[in-house]
Symmetry: C2
Subunit: 316 residues, 2 copies
Amino acid sequence: MSEQIYIGVDLGGTNIKVGICDVEGKLLHTYEGPTGNENGADFVLDRIAEYVRALVRESAIEWEQVAGIGAGIAGFLDIPEGVIKLSPNLGWRNVPVKKILEEKLGKQVVIDNDANVAALGEAWSGAGAGIPNIVCYTLGTGVGGGIIVGGRLYQGYNGMAGELGHMTVVPDLEAIACGCGRMGCLETVSSATGIIRMANDAVERGDATVLASVEKMTAKDVFDAAKADDEVALRIIQRAAFYLGKSMSLVSVVINPQRFIIGGGVSRAGDILFDMIRENFSKLAPERAQEGVDIVPATLGNDAGVVGAAGLILRG
Amino acid sequence: MSEQIYIGVDLGGTNIKVGICDVEGKLLHTYEGPTGNENGADFVLDRIAEYVRALVRESAIEWEQVAGIGAGIAGFLDIPEGVIKLSPNLGWRNVPVKKILEEKLGKQVVIDNDANVAALGEAWSGAGAGIPNIVCYTLGTGVGGGIIVGGRLYQGYNGMAGELGHMTVVPDLEAIACGCGRMGCLETVSSATGIIRMANDAVERGDATVLASVEKMTAKDVFDAAKADDEVALRIIQRAAFYLGKSMSLVSVVINPQRFIIGGGVSRAGDILFDMIRENFSKLAPERAQEGVDIVPATLGNDAGVVGAAGLILRG
């Protein structure tokens, strides 16, 4: 029999990306097309099936080689049942994705949330390849996370494992409300949204910073200013990095991973951010929990989602 | 062939306890005798071998039935190598326990730290039997912990997984130094030592409390006063319970266990403590990480160590 392959689906609000991986997690072929969510969930699920079949056909792979299909989706999921309970960005409620796609494709389908899937992608063939115990942070609009134990994704009892953006790390006196309804979550300071908020606050307060002349603030503006030694911008990045380091120091005495991987748009800031995170982790975590432990950037970029989704069949 | 049995050794500073478990973790026979540490490590290891052989002989079990021997030891261990790097309470340094006992007994030997072993005992046949994902807290002189993932003990990369007493949860403004050299660890407020310290501080400050008349403060004195509605004692217990709840809320978004088990001397305080911990966890953790999750007392008492040590062979 020919070698088995694994298909990953990265279901976004604008585009659907599908990809084929080999057993090592190497991305062999990809296809990307519009989601067309304005036509409803049934239409989108049809489209996923269509994209998957087209990709396999055009890749000169036999349908029999397909071991299964994984899909990464942002939202609240019932992972074992494969149901999207609520996807705010798609506007879906109670859609049994697994059941519908299995009927359409005749293959096993597994779903998981986007941050978990990105973590699994990095663990399989990205920055964590060959390392069994990993914690990933995805720094974007929010802060996502994923936990890899023994090379496999670990979801926890209610699928809440790795919800690192909702670690309460900011002390009450400085805490602001998080989208989740609680106060002081990591996400309120270490996401792009958090960084932008801190920058806008500083400008409004009248702090002396080049950011005062920015029209529509982005996290990149803040990093660029920090790289140019703007003190206010440096203080903001330092604060985002401090709470990431603090969160990692807590994680290190709960599950003591060998490697922390940081991905997502904010992580593209590069050394300035990573150096600060490493410095804070090193100050805050117990020495023994740091020995041989490193903090590295994700390497798969936008492919992490599709690779990790493919990996769900093997390592979910 | 007769059924396999598993031997556990709980190596304490005063006594050595050995026990025989069946494959379900049921404790069939135990033997306890003095450690005799004043005679040195070699003597103690000889004694362990002697106690193990005597226990098997007197239990009418064939030596061939012994699948292996696990030992729980307080201190810094190299778990894969089976070496005690430093045991402050025994005064041992770099003792290759695994190698020596394997030579003496001709069976596989596995060691792990006492809090991990107690967690494994509870998971195997105590308060966590049948539950695959568990986090245990042991509240004694310090605060220990153990993480059970998929029914197995999870040590982490440097054996630091489950060092829950060293989660930094107390905000800087109220933090005091921990024995580990860092500030604000859970252990500084939620251990017996922490509770006694807070009580002595209150008495010294002149707070109006029945504790003022206690000669040598114990954690039990503080719980007894709290049960009699002494407001100062209640405030102290509430503080210990608050930080336990906070620590659990952090753990719940890292690994989202199904059950928290609390053991150790302090946990004998019973409902007054558990009710407060549950109340704080329920306020602080995200709702979805609480669904179906419970916080329960350990049930094996002093046997947890010997049962969990026996379990190391199967589930370490």
